[in-house]
Amino acid sequence: MRRLWVLLLLLLCLPLLVNAQTPQATPPPPAAPHSAAFPKPSEETLPNGLRVIVIERRESPLVAAQLLIKNGGEVDPPELAGLADMTASLLTKGTQTRDATKIAEEIESLGGSLESGARWDSSFATVDVMSSKIPQATEILADVVRHPTFKSEEVERLRQQSLDNLTLMMGEPGSIASFVAARVVFGESPYGHPLLGTTESLTRITAADIAKLHGRYYRPDNAILVLGGDIAAKDGLALATKYFGDWQKPSQPLPSVSAALKDTSPKTGRIIVVDKPDAGQAAVYLARTGINRRDPDYFRGLVANSVLSGYSGRLNQEIRIKRGLSYGAGSILETRRDVGPFVAQAQTKNESGAQVADLLLGEIGRLSSAPPAEAELTPRKAVLIGTFSRNLETVNGLVGQVGSLALHGLSLDEINRYINNVQAVSTADVQKFAGARLDAKTSNIIIVGNAKLFLPELQKKYPNVEVIPVSELDLNTATLRKKQPGQ
């Protein structure tokens, strides 16, 4: 059989050789680059404090409108994790004049979509429609943000959906690892809980809690409206005034919020294994604190992370390309209003869990031990710039990017300075940033998988591994363990 294959191969190779006639053995060099400019946003603040931003981009007949509230999951009371997300999700489930079915029916009849939810530091409601439909869509957007009713039957329905969703996520090693990583890095601080809540906290949330959060944070002087796409600035502003202009600002001051780590900062350098015997693959996470969005080191951080992450970044080079240990490895420096997380991760077969943990720690450490070569850094910067530019090609990308700058109180013109800011980062900056802000020794490792296949090897190197059976995992507390009877 084998011989036959060889014979076949020889025959079939012939045309292959004939085919090999590409006339040139080295790639032709690039021509001179063409230049790009991003659209300039216009903005105005309405008398009620609502900040309105419009970005014109007329190529496709599409408009996206995003209403941002400047608070999200970080304002969840500790025992009510998931409250901000439930509040935002329920906006589209009924107003004083429309029930959930009518809202969906109306927006979808326009061919559009309406979405709402909470993130860290913000909540959002977004409509996305053909430009001819934007007036009707903006009216619906204003209605759901300003007049939601939070009916108890809708609260119950969403509660059950969120619980089911949580059950689905707890079946995946990757999502369990990301929940555990947040608790390990942030402990009992506001960014520590799952954004969508836990089984226990979701069960406690009442319609009254939801209405209270809405009353406190959903107000025009705590909101930003971004319209982008096939719409003139003056038309966007007119729509904003028409549908949001009479939104009353409450007389009481806005509550002040901090998600900063508390004095009792969580302990670092932990190695945690969540044993899930039926896991088809192990999720390996390295997690630690990163930086906040307004940090002066923001661009140094972005560039440092890009050396590690992306297809040809060091993590994927070492873990996927050189060793075939994963379908993909990468990292995220997630910047928030307060210090956010840095996470490096890969999924791998259970047997190689310990090896991948070692590789993650090794690569993070290597970044601070020597500066990258200029020849390595230049392409990584190109990746950042290219990704950023492509993201701005779609109306949704443009609105999202501008909304994020506005949320953090940064100059909207930063989209036109992005390229220069990235280019200004030096190889020495990368090493310095990694040493000061991404120290491997104070990073934590979390592995979720079938522990018996990687634990012995992991323990050889790290005797202090904490092992938590998935059945005993408790995401409500920084200890991560359910209380044992009698304790």
Partner: protein, 456 residues
Amino acid sequence: MVRTSVRLLLSVVLLTTLQLAGIAQTRMPQLTFTDRTLPNGLRVLSAPDHSSPTVAIQVWYHVGSKDDPPNRSGFAHLFEHIMFKSTKNMKSEMMDRLTEDVGGFNNAFTADDVTVYFEVIPSNYLETLIWAEADRLSGLNVDDANFKSERDVVKEEYRQSVLAPPYGMFAYLLQAKSFVEHPYKRPTIGSIQDLDAASLQDVQEFHSTYYRPDNATLVVVGDFDPKQLDAWVDKYFGPIAKPDRPLPRVQIKEPARQKETRFTEHGSNDLPAVGFTYLTPRQADPDSAALRIVDAILSAGESSRLYHALVYTQQLAAEADADAETREDASLFVLTAILSEGKKPEDAEKSLLTEIKRLQDTPVSAAELEKAKNQLITEQLRQRETSNGKALALGEAAVLLGDPARVNTDLARLQAVTAADVQRVTKKYFDDKNLMVLYYLPQTQKQAQEKGGQGR
């Protein structure tokens, strides 16, 4: 994740090419393109668009997982990964150097019928990438170490897409159980066993069999000068000879289903799932347009029938979906529900059947039909915001529908769908004899049943 999206549930990853003007006041931009074929058979479709200084390049090879060699399920997809390794003139990962390193990106995907390689790059690199695509069409030069390590990557992809997610295996089985004869019964990702059996010899053979200019379509959309593009294509692709051997094509026909079939399988999921498939005609069939509308009526958005009935009103399901999964030779219409905590699969099955019957018994209203068409137009507009999206639409029309002009004319087909068409296709295809039902239950339920059985 990067490089390769194997579609398990959907036959083709391509965003749907449905388009529809519908509303008079919305301008639906027509995609103006040039279509030419080189003497060696390479088809070249191109459309200039100078809105950003980038260009999208795609090479569509008319070979997919249905062409996997015997006992080599997953091979077309593994091969796709190997196409990023060394060629005569390029070292491994050089494609990344030519794209990612200059601010562009590359990727590829394998579906049942096609394998597509694509790059988006700053437009001044266009000639470089035309050279590179021609080079890897000319031949590969991969060593065993590279081959084995990439095969390990694909095995991790299998674990990540099939084994780790709680419903990965459900999607896999849904396709596998839906076809009896046609090679579509082997999902694109294949099996670990067959991947382990694949060799470097298979790679060379597959390349020379299917990677030939007359089996390829080059699509270029974005910031370029048409004359210059033509000259570069002639220079780099022109000399590649067309082999005189015939191209093998899958001849197996999937027989019509004669009776309902059902399967029960168990997995690591906590919530049970139910899946239905009906066998439907090939993608180019005129009924595809009406089935696409049925898909939107059943599953597009929260006002869709399945969401409204199963998720919202009855609270039976955490998720409910429908999909007109088109393929070149034979298609599937798929309905799925992941149940809510404590709900029975039998009840979800009943509700799905009720929705099917409603479509068959009562014509959809004009408003509901119009809504579905509006949703499809907007989806189309979103796809075509980027050069890469436009190129995908062109490639799909040319390779899977056999006519690139369908990138524009399918609009009329969708517009023409009536309420009577919707009723007709649901009666014609959603027949009990044409139904496959799959229950995907938690392993724990099986163990509980077995324990119970032994104890008594």
